[in-house]
Symmetry: C2
Subunit: 413 residues, 2 copies
């Protein structure tokens, strides 16, 4: 659909800001590299802060380096409605993952100014520290500290692969703020590219995110008997890779045979001893199961474990499953989700409810305050990649829905 | 069965020599490390030469470093009957792979001396250079040069991973001989550990090797679409690992559903980009198909290719199969094989016909002169491993069969 002419935001200004930010850490293939608390991340943050101050906002930085740019509310003692995302990227990241949410939020503030719209609650644009987790692990540090997932102290002591301590890098880049990490929020809204192909494939303009999938991550070690590929007859083999490949098929079936929005993925598989003419004696692989419904995810877990045990017995090998990580399904706040849906409908945008399969700052924040997310399509569903792309019109639609949802949540005086 | 008391060889002397040789390059876990043309390999060769000279043999070395220790025949102008194998080992090799064939041959010569047995043809014990191919690639260099598989010049110029040139290492270790690599042979006999479990599982004492399996090695690259594990629904995925694991299952079926002595192995499988939460976009794997019958091997090849193509189409991925190496089935000389079988029967040893699944110097030599091999069981079928083991009685049986076959082939005057 063509873009309506009466949008409450300035599509060109948003696109120009995205292009300007993308120049910082620009890569040869058209992406961006702004690793958390690198010189490039500092430059991106500085540019953002200058834009916010030009828009009349008051900028504060908390002790984990999260930036909050505040536009006063009619009753400035109320907790702010916070919009935001992150400015850091993957090493060969794109121009929109995270950045879109931050600059769409800034565009909302700029548009509120242009239109002289006053809100009851103050409004803030947040930049969360180190969402990507590429330079410093784990990911989603800034939002995780604010919501009590991590302690401030443990995160400040994290050391990057390049040897830098996170707390020292905050000081070096000028983002070791003094504000408490116990930041009050009335509600949180995050716009983001989908990072998947669903909206594009179905021709939808807006994804109304109803929550985030629960995730269960595992490590599986299959042990058979290593032997020469030539002299060992088929019937006497205990081939760890033959067993593991049947388990990969079983993981796929767990996904395919589950209703709703399941994901089941084997992303890493290592073969030992890794020789052309040696029957593999050991295989290690990872499993990533996701579902928005906790009961269904538990059922996927049961079927996965049963299949691995059955295949191991059939193949005469042993298989150990280790739990690596677990994150429960996170439903977003229904009234907020409803507002996102109503805003999309109000503009006449095609939309669908969607569950976030990826981790986002919003998933941590949702554990503390009412939260919603707005997805926009991304080209071919590709993300975490320098060719990551969106259309200016899709960006404008997402910012418009964010504007309407923000105003409805922050309230007219 | 207990060992007969009237064997033509000295079981204790053979066992003592094996133990003495194993001290050179001995590893902590009871194996041996004598990489081709290393200091340890030189020490092993020197010990072997000293033993041969003490047994009255004339030792010559050819230009690729193969050693031939010659015992005169009644008609010394006739081509020799050659017995042998190799003294080099894998990095964490065992005490018997190759070594047994060399020292069993030496034991035959010593026993011919003890018994004053004269043969019509001269008799030689051969040590082939670099059978294992661990330090210098390809394997079976010495026998390959002698039989015209490789040219002398190309092999002399091979460079090890440690940077050493093979020709230079021959000079350094004193084994750059002057004899022509065009070595006349009347027949070739090689005793070897089975390196597989068949004889042990079936309780057989001697394997009468009727030939070597043909081999076809491939490299397969499966290309799907790399994507985030979370936001990408199961039905929209083109998961290269799901497809590749179905292909591994298909390779296994090609092996299981083939009559005779098939082998079908995937030994290497690499996943890209190799991340827990990224759907694999590319998988590389190797395939090793073997069968003693050329037509059957060709049929296995056809079924393998068809299965890969069918799975690729079903899964919406592409799959490229590259031919990596091909070696036709090699039948051994029937009259010689018959003599091995008769010798085993003559001693009352239980035996079975068997096809060699592994590569041996004998497989190259068989292309040029009548050849046979004698297998003895190895513990749990384990080889290329420091725990590789045989029983003294099995070693003695193998040497006794080699003795009888040698005498029958070299002829009484």
């Amino acid at each position: 659909m063509p873009l309506p002419s009466n949008l409450p935001i300035d599509a060109d200004r948003l696109w120009d800001s995205l292009a300007e930010m993308a120049k910082i850490g620009a890569t040869a293939k058209g992406g961006s590299c702004r690793l958390a608390l690198s010189d490039e991340d500092k430059a991106g943050r500085d540019l953002f802060v200058s834009w916010c101050e030009a828009a009349g906002c008051t900028v504060t930085v908390d002790r984990i380096g999260n930036i909050f740019a505040r536009r006063r509310g009619r009753d400035d003692s109320l907790a702010p409605v916070v919009m935001g995302s992150h400015l850091d990227t993957q090493p060969t990241g794109g121009r929109f993952d995270g950045v879109f949410g931050v600059l769409a939020a800034l565009e909302v503030v700029r548009s509120l100014n242009d239109r002289g719209v006053e809100t009851l609650h103050p409004v803030e644009v947040a930049v969360w520290t180190n969402e990507e987790g590429s330079r410093f692990s784990p990911p989603m540090m800034g939002s995780g500290v604010v919501t009590g997932i991590f302690t401030l102290e443990e995160i400040l002591d994290k050391v990057a692969q390049d040897g830098a301590r996170l707390g020292d890098e905050l000081v070096r880049t000028g983002y070791a703020g003094e504000a408490s990490v116990d930041h009050p929020m009335h509600a949180y809204l995050e716009a983001h590219i989908e990072q998947g192909p669903v909206l594009e494939v179905e021709g939808k303009e807006i994804g109304v995110v109803t929550g985030a999938q629960g995730q269960r991550w595992y490590e599986v070690t299959v042990t058979g008997v290593e032997a020469h590929a030539g002299p060992t007859p088929m019937r006497l083999r205990r081939d760890a890779l033959v067993a593991a490949s049947a388990m990969v098929q079983a993981v796929q079936r767990v996904g395919l045979e589950t209703a709703g929005d399941p994901c089941a993925t084997v992303g890493i598989l290592d073969v030992h001893p890794h020789s052309r003419n040696v029957i593999p004696g050991r295989v290690f692989f990872t499993v990533d199961l996701r579902h928005p419904n906790a009961d269904t995810l538990a059922d996927m877990d049961r079927r996965f474990r049963a299949a691995v045990a059955e295949i191991a017995e059939q193949q005469g090998v042993s298989a150990e499953i280790a739990d690596f990580w677990h994150f429960p399904p996170t439903p977003f706040a229904e009234p907020l989700v409803d507002r996102v849906r109503e805003a999309a409908s109000g503009f006449g945008f095609s939309h669908r409810d969607i569950v976030s399969g990826a981790g986002h700052d919003a998933v941590y924040v949702a554990g503390k305050v009412p939260t919603a997310m707005i997805f926009i399509p991304c080209e071919d569903g590709i993300s975490h990649n320098e060719v990551e792309n969106i259309s200016p019109a899709d960006g404008a639609r997402g910012a418009a829905v964010l504007f309407e949802t923000l105003v409805a949540t922050a309230g007219r005086p």
